[in-house]
């Protein structure tokens, strides 16, 4: 079956034969990725979604890092950090931090799981909703930037006090890795393939 694919980046039209299996091709003019699918089973992706949720729960429940000054210890959790911002009068900043580090990465995982669990061959408009959510949310999910931000904070404090890494640093870093992998495993064409043919 041949069809027309229009490059979203430069508007060049390509006539292509849509392959049945995994494929990837780029725009001949601007090299933007036009089409990408893979053969990773949907169940594997669902399992990754489930482990991401568990890791995020651990990441929220335990402290990221703790600081020991003389005989007092103070631990920072992700939600605690947002609360402190809010208490200091920066509600907007607290909202941005919570959205970019917790809510939107979680929305990304949830939308992907919902798409994979949706009945196959349902109305296209319903499937399109999940595809749209995933592409809108992706740029705003910043788990990997946050992990680096924690590292910067730890280095700044290491000279003046004892910095102790908490369970959450490992759990959240693992969550970040899985969310990044899910991003790679969910190109729009693959999402449509799952919607049309099931996982």
């Amino acid at each position: 079956m041949t069809s027309v694919i229009v490059c979203p980046a430069c508007d060049l039209a390509h006539r292509v034969r849509r392959p049945a299996g995994a494929a990837r091709f780029r725009c001949t003019r601007c090299r933007a990725e036009l089409y990408r699918t893979h053969d990773v089973h949907g169940d594997v992706v669902l399992a990754l979604c489930a482990s991401a949720v568990v890791l995020l729960a651990l990441g929220l429940a335990y402290p990221l890092i703790a600081l020991r000054v003389e005989d007092t210890t103070r631990a920072a959790t992700l939600t605690g950090a947002a609360v402190v911002l809010f208490q200091q009068g920066y509600g907007a900043l607290a909202a941005v931090v919570l959205l970019t580090t917790v809510l939107l990465p979680l929305a990304q995982v949830a939308a992907l799981a919902a798409l994979l669990l949706a009945p196959r061959g349902g109305p296209a408009a319903r499937g399109a909703r999940w595809v749209a959510v995933l592409s809108a949310v992706r740029p705003w999910a910043m788990s990997e930037v946050f992990v680096l931000g924690v590292l910067v904070a730890a280095v700044k404090l290491a000279g003046v006090a004892d910095v102790v890494p908490g369970i959450s640093v490992y759990a959240y870093s693992a969550f970040m890795v899985i969310v990044t992998a899910l991003g790679v495993l969910a190109p729009p064409d693959q999402l449509w393939r799952w919607l049309e043919h099931g996982r």
Partner: protein
């Protein structure tokens, strides 16, 4: 695949020339007959999102976001992003003094990273998006290098949040009553706004505008 590679002098076979519109939401390509092209509202047959030839208001919305970001860039760099109070006195840190502090902490790779993410990248984004926006209004110019610049700007934009996250963690961690405590400063709010606004500006900008004004070599 048979790419419609443009020959020298020939008009490239774009969606616009062929009357095919791309849905920005679900990426379906829809043939729009010339008679229907003028209709006020066309919907994608697959997902029912509005179909436009180019993102509507791309230039003006992007320009407005950029301008706001450029204005906020000044307080973001001049105002302190955090106040530190210890037994030895009070200290205000701006973005730049934070980088210098990191350098003194002996971690130059991290200092370099924060310097790039917080100082170079926001400035680069403001200048290059502004220039790209202007380039779509002027005489045709080669689109490939402009497109590469745009993609780089879009790719690195998110890393500017690094400092906001670091300050957040510091403010939560360093709360030892009179011994030492850290408060977030107004600069962090302005800086966060600059990052969000420039990211929105990059997303609003329709990359196809660069190729519309391509001087195909």
């Amino acid at each position: 695949m048979t790419g419609a590679r443009p020959k020298t002098g020939a008009q490239p076979a774009t969606g616009r020339r062929l009357g095919v519109r791309l849905c920005l939401r679900c990426r379906a390509a829809t043939r729009v007959p010339a008679a229907a092209a003028a209709a006020a509202r066309l919907l994608c047959p697959r997902c029912h999102a509005p179909l436009h030839e180019r993102r509507p208001g791309s230039r003006s919305v992007c320009a407005a976001l950029l301008l706001t970001a450029a204005i906020l860039y000044v307080p973001a760099n001049l105002l302190p992003v955090m106040h530190t109070r210890t037994l030895f006195g009070e200290d205000d840190d701006t973005i730049l003094s934070g980088v210098i502090a990191l350098l003194h902490a002996g971690s130059w790779p991290l200092a370099l990273l924060v310097f790039f993410a917080s100082i170079v990248v926001p400035l680069l984004k403001l200048v290059s998006l502004g220039w790209l926006l202007l380039s779509t209004l002027g005489a045709p110019a080669p689109a490939a290098p402009r497109s590469r610049l745009y993609r780089m700007v879009e790719f690195v934009g998110r890393w500017s949040m690094l400092d906001v996250f670091a300050v957040t963690v510091l403010a939560c961690l360093v709360q030892f009553r009179t011994l030492a405590n850290v408060r977030v400063g107004t600069g962090a709010l302005a800086f966060c706004a600059v990052v969000v606004l420039t990211m929105l500006a990059a997303q609003t900008f329709d990359e196809r505008l660069l190729w519309d004004s391509d001087a195909a070599a």
